[in-house]
Symmetry: none
Subunit: 212 residues, 4 copies
């Protein structure tokens, strides 16, 4: 009995195996079914049997690609067209772009997706690779974009160079997450505005003069 190697990289270059190759269509059907089921009933109600049934796939086929239910759910969500990429960077200034991006984040959080993602993060293994990738994909990547924009602002002299960017980022994104999780106060565009105001208070330079 050869050791079974979990290999979930689908286009595994030169197919050396002799047998029937893995069906990528099955893989896609699985993820699609999982995504739909999550959106319909939430990630808690997701079951392997439900996925298999809807995808028209045998359960072992799912287990061939992912080790457990959680992983399938994460993979499914990560392949969503969620994007949230703040690609549209036709902003005049980094801080404006940051504000625009935060609004997108807020909009994402407002959907069921937001809560689903949060649930997944909190109930995940926290140390597994997939879990890290998941957090990175959905949250930390946003934070990275924000960092990039903040650093641009520093470069442009809009922000004081001695600002502790990491802390500021955690304050901003953490505040949004906090309101999502706690639900004690609104999570909307007005919050984004105030948040930026308060987080950057004392960090802004007088731009007119700085630009001179």
């Amino acid at each position: 009995m050869a050791m079974k190697v979990k290999d979930n990289s689908p286009p595994n270059s030169a197919a050396r195996g002799r047998g029937r190759p893995r069906s990528d269509s099955a893989r896609r059907a699985i993820l699609r079914a999982a995504r739909e089921l999550i959106e319909e009933n939430g990630p808690t109600a997701l079951t392997m049997e439900g996925i298999a049934a809807r995808a028209g796939v045998g359960k072992p086929t799912i287990y061939r690609w992912w080790p457990d239910r959680h992983s399938v759910a994460m993979a499914a969500l990560m392949e969503s067209e969620s994007a949230v990429s703040s690609s549209g960077s036709n902003s005049r200034s980094p801080l404006e772009a940051l504000q625009r991006q935060l609004r997108k984040v807020v909009a994402l959080f407002a959907t069921s997706m937001g809560r689903n993602v949060t649930t997944m993060i909190a109930s995940a293994d926290h140390d597994s690779e997939l879990s890290k990738a998941f957090r990175n994909h959905f949250v930390l990547a946003r934070r990275e974009e924000g960092r990039s924009l903040l650093l641009q602002a520093v470069d442009r002299g809009e922000i004081r160079p001695d600002a502790d960017v990491e802390i500021v980022l955690d304050m901003i994104y953490g505040a949004l997450f906090f309101r999502l999780l706690m639900g004690h106060a609104a999570l909307d565009d007005a919050l984004v505005k105030q948040l930026l105001e308060e987080a950057l208070r004392g960090l802004r330079r007088r731009q007119r003069r700085a630009s001179k």
Copy 2:
């Protein structure tokens, strides 16, 4: 802060029924067993049968008072000696007290309890009364303490009166929560210091030399 969750406190009010009163020792045994099991294996591995077995109690007795596993877990954790109450108010200044309190929060987060609580919050119903009580007990109550301290600081003139306290609070506590959930950066006393520094930058009035 009376926040009635449901009715799992036996001598709740009038209407002292005629039947045998509920056994408070059973109630305590259940919560104790749940607490221990959570600390041993995490809240995910908690099962009703496990609780019943360890508590020496029948399963129906548990279901008589809590609707599901999640509720038992929340109730169990809420009866822990978590405390965290920043009662020790022998601080010279509100901001120092705030720092001390934040350190306690960080210390709590660092324990397994921290992660457990987080998991519970994120996977809960979010709208149920018990869930709200839970969030309030473990997180928002800390935030309330922080608000009280911040307002004291405003009163004393240490903080500018036009500060948006709510936003500042969410930035501070949200940042801590964010690091706990994401695990992308340290969550320690140094963070507390920097966080306060950054959050209050531009809000402080007369910077005293007392800060050491």
Copy 3:
């Protein structure tokens, strides 16, 4: 001058003391509830809790009189108005009376009661006193009546005196029971007629001469 008694409640309040007057009414309510429940759903579906609820009685009160569910069921059925007593003694001959009685037995078996009684008998302890009483009440008492009639027939010279009455009785009543239990053939008046014919074949004396 007798005081007007305002106690118009059913139980004869013999014992005024501090409280045991309701016992017998509770007992009757229990049996009544049990009887109704058995007729509605069969003896298998009978539950103590159902009886207590319908009778408006606490469970311990039931257990004060009967040791278990089965006993309550038996007692309930035995207090039914089933009777079946072949009281009608306006028969010209014992054998006619026997036939009439057997028809009554068949009629009883045809009701749900018949099957219920059978189920009770077969699932009972078989050795308990109550169980014996039950069998006697519902089945053996009929057989006793039949024996009496058969013996009368012998006395009158309608049946040969060397007939083995016990065996004949078991053949007759056993055949009815057998058809009830097995359901392989009809259980009706025609059967009664044929049965008597066959069971008594060879036992009959020439009645014409005997009567002369």
Copy 4:
């Protein structure tokens, strides 16, 4: 005697499904465990969990093939080597063979098996296919054998041709069953002798040689 009960015979016919075929060893283990437990504690004390535990089988596997406890019990008993088949028919005459067979029936009734079977019959659904099969297997099949023998006796001229065989059969087998259920009189070989005597009285033709 093909009497399809449901579909608990694995290689039943065509329609060889695509999934993993049912494990016949599991099926046998279940029936064996059920049989043993019934013999140990009676059919009333039989539990699905007990069967599953002893058979080393999951509960759902049992429920996959039988709808309830009763059906398992019946199937288990029916697979016993009870047989009782009066195959050994080296008798000189059908009536002798009948007597021999009845003695076997009495012997079976005398074992715990007898009472168990009776309990099962009385507490069964009575209309379900399995229940009919059960009654047929354990009781009516014996009656069928008896009928065959009686008809042989008619053919040979030992029994009058106008005898109502069905009635006679019910009288004979019913009487045995009656004594088993009621327990009011002995159930032994002597009974068999008397029973045949009485049931066939008036039906026998040439009795001269029979009487010494």
